[in-house]
């Protein structure tokens, strides 16, 4: 069964893969919801999202 057909039968047997060490880059503030999503990240500001993390500098402040 292909992976595309998942959920339509029994799970395929998992093949052994040796352990690997991989480095990944985290953006800490973003990962724990500790930034003002509207102005402190590269993504777009949500025009209808209220933010209370730093209303003083947030264009979509809740105040």
């Amino acid at each position: 069964m292909s992976r595309e057909q998942h959920g339509r039968g029994a799970s395929p047997r998992r093949s052994y893969q040796p352990p690997q060490l991989q480095k990944v880059r985290l953006i800490p503030d973003e990962a724990v919801l500790a930034s003002c999503k509207n102005n402190a990240t590269a993504g777009p500001a949500g025009p209808i999202q209220k933010c209370a993390t730093n209303p003083a500098v947030c264009s979509h402040s809740a105040s």
Partner: protein, 319 residues
């Protein structure tokens, strides 16, 4: 349908509910515009309940709990006996929290206080779904075996659920726009998607969080493929090994960093998913040809998609 002014608000995302009530019937509960489509008229099977009121000073006198997690400035999680206390702060409202809610350890029942004149309660209106409160609560509840929240654009196209994972700036909103312009796709969200495992396989759900242009939809689709977004000077799809896929997905997920069981659940969840759902890297140009590349990959595999779109087949690169 918008609730009556004196009724509780019930937010339902990915079949998980959060009901908010107020102590004072004079206070009006108000949902943010992005959350309105996600309001339910009644509580579903899996619904937490929170009672909020203005700050009374009762909590200020209490001894602090054991800190389980502290973002440093925005929110903090403490353990108080068996309970969990979430506090939210903002520099503009001083050192004290503008919102504190004490939950049981499963986050099913909570009671809290909010500063009158703060970002949540002002002018007799209480806005419970101000970032990041509701998202943190959902995150905590998802980590209890319910599912995983990911940084992604998710859409439904011809009955297929397709997930485009990416950190900020990777092109999630651009991807959503391209599919929207093409037509025929339902955008679930261009920023945050919940994945849950169900009897039929994995399912992706829209959320109200951080989306652009009001695209967030309380709809869902069976997950058929995952693409890791990577803007590039050409379109190319590469298969990723399940091991690499888990690492790449974890970076773009929001596991409960404060809870070992929750972290382990997220890793297991994504590893199991990578065994059943194809995970691929999508290098793409921000133009409609990127969609053709994805559709070719969905229909015939990554190598065929690359060749159809003028690329060359190359071995998988390490992330």
């Amino acid at each position: 349908m918008p609730p009556k002014p004196d009724s509780p608000l019930v937010l339902e995302i990915a079949r998980i509910g959060l009901e908010v009530r107020v102590v004072d019937p004079e206070i009006r509960l108000v949902a943010e515009p992005a959350h309105v489509p996600f309001l339910a008229e009644t509580k579903g099977e899996d619904c937490a309940s929170v009672l909020l009121g203005p700050v009374s000073g009762r909590r200020a006198a209490r001894l602090p709990g054991r800190t389980l997690f502290d973002t440093g400035s925005v929110w903090r999680l403490e353990e108080i006996g068996d309970n969990r206390l979430l506090t939210f702060r903002s520099p503009i409202f001083g050192r004290d929290p503008y919102l504190s809610v004490e939950f049981d350890r499963d986050y099913m029942h909570g009671q809290g206080e909010t500063l009158d004149g703060g970002p949540v309660l002002t002018g007799g209106e209480l806005h419970p779904f101000v970032y990041p409160f509701d998202e943190v609560v959902f995150l905590a509840r998802l980590s209890r075996g319910r599912g995983v929240l990911v940084h992604a654009c998710g859409l439904a196209f011809n009955g297929r659920g397709i997930l485009f994972l990416g950190t900020s700036g990777a092109g999630k909103s651009t991807t959503a726009r391209l599919w929207k312009e093409r037509g025929g796709a339902t955008i679930l969200s261009d920023d945050r998607i919940v994945i849950r495992r169900e009897a039929e396989g994995y399912r992706i759900y829209g959320t109200p969080w951080h989306g652009e242009a009001g695209w967030e939809t309380p709809a869902s689709a069976r997950l058929d493929a995952v693409y890791i977004l990577d803007q590039a000077p050409r379109n190319r799809v590469q298969e990723i090994s399940p091991n690499a896929a888990v690492a790449q997905m974890m970076v773009r997920a929001f596991p409960s960093m404060w809870d070992q069981n929750g972290l382990e659940f997220a890793v297991r969840f994504l590893a199991d998913m990578a065994d059943l759902v194809p995970v691929r890297r999508l290098q793409f140009l921000p133009e409609p040809s990127a969609i053709d590349c994805v559709l070719a990959a969905c229909n015939g595999g990554a190598a065929e998609a690359t060749l159809r779109n003028g690329g060359t087949q190359e071995p998988e690169e390490e992330p």
